[in-house]
Symmetry: C2
Subunit: 250 residues, 2 copies
């Protein structure tokens, strides 16, 4: 493979380069296949020794049809590129979508996450949102990057089907949303109202970080606070689990 | 600290020693505090330089009252003991509870997991179960060990409040349960019945692994199959999220 591509993938493991080039990468057959359904695949890298395996051969064919360049890497390059113990045999470089505020104004519910830090949890939330047909997501400016490889991996391909607004000051975004007649609902432990899922389509659901919950400045935006009632003794729910429960009742 | 304790904690990072000694360990203030509410704490290790911090001092007091030995470790020992980048300053060695079939026969719902492999996911499921007041858990004999440090960490203290049956052949356990007049419900993608949470108290809810779902031999035990309906395009839900959604509707 070209040393340029090799270096680029290595670069894209760092946030600053992802945003400099506005590119990220996905790994594994499933994700690359899903990626190819969209127009923004820039190139594909396959482990040379596996190019004849049925699933890889199919991807190569699809890529050719779509004029997506395919390169092959050797064992040494795999060692250099891999982000986990075992390399899944295939990666793709993807053009990062440019999402602006107006893209989310489609009169459908929006999930908003305040200061989410765990990349796996964020990926699971994106996957769960996609499962329930929610495709609008806002992240506070200090959240983890949704295009880092751990998040992308745990979205299991759902990263391609959501619109993520993540570069703007959350307070400014929420102010603007209020003006568009959206209702804002915040999930906060021990709030009086038990979540019943009854919301208008133009709604924003805000969730806080695992460790601190929602910051006060954003709670102030909420038209109503909700909580998920438990019966046991655990102090809290995992954030992705909470989001799943909330969305399942919509 | 005694080199014996040091060596023992290191040993307990391996499954075989955990079961040889029937001990495991927990890390962090929150977990150690929760542990002290139960009688099975064998000893506590605190980073010596932090012994005067308020929360540590309180734990030392509680431990004294309960005759739980406390040892202090130095910087070098921390390097040797820690299981993550940063050491949380405190650990406790815990006696592993001996759970037998009869312990679960309290006429309350049981969660059963077939071949769960991800320790963090298992921990999150235990935490979620505890949140919803479900304390009976069965793991297939080839599941990840619930007392490994990653699982314990992600239970966030709930490990102390659940009963986990994990040493027996799952098919034998399910056969026995059937004879006790429990109903068995299995969650399987694309099953016709949408989950409504309406089950008798004597119920077993079986979930399969993330990658393969429930193995056929266990599906055969089910009185009814359920699925969680989505509206989007994601292929599946994360297992812990699925369990959360299911339990939230009970």
């Amino acid at each position: 493979m070209q040393s340029k591509t090799l270096k680029q993938i290595k670069n894209l493991q760092q946030k600053k380069y992802r945003y400099e080039f506005r590119e990220f990468f996905v790994e594994g057959i499933k994700s690359v296949k899903e990626a190819l359904a969209f127009p923004n695949v820039l190139s594909i890298v396959i482990e040379g020794s596996r190019r004849d395996e049925k699933e890889f051969a199919e991807i190569i064919k699809t890529a050719e049809k779509k004029n997506v360049p395919v390169e092959f890497c050797g064992r040494r390059e795999v060692e250099y590129l891999k982000t986990t113990e075992s390399f899944p045999g295939i990666m793709a470089i993807i053009e990062m979508p440019e999402v602006v505020f107006e893209d989310l104004m489609d009169e459908r519910p929006i999930i908003c996450l305040d200061e989410i830090k765990d990349p796996g949890n964020l990926g699971t939330i994106i996957r769960t949102a996609d499962w329930f047909g929610i495709h609008n997501i806002i992240l506070s400016e200090d959240s983890v990057d949704p295009y880092n490889e751990k998040t992308v991996r745990s979205t299991m391909g759902s990263i391609f089907r959501v619109k993520i607004l993540n570069k703007y000051k959350l307070s400014a975004v929420l102010e603007k949303i209020k003006k568009e007649d959206y209702k804002i609902f915040a999930f906060k432990a021990n709030s009086e109202n038990e979540w019943d899922g009854k919301i208008p389509p133009k709604s924003v659901l805000i969730f806080g970080s695992e460790s601190h919950g929602i910051r006060a400045e954003y709670v102030d935006f909420a038209d109503k606070l909700y909580s998920i009632k438990g019966k046991g003794s655990a102090e809290s729910l995992n954030l992705a689990v909470s989001v799943g429960i909330v969305l399942s009742k919509l």
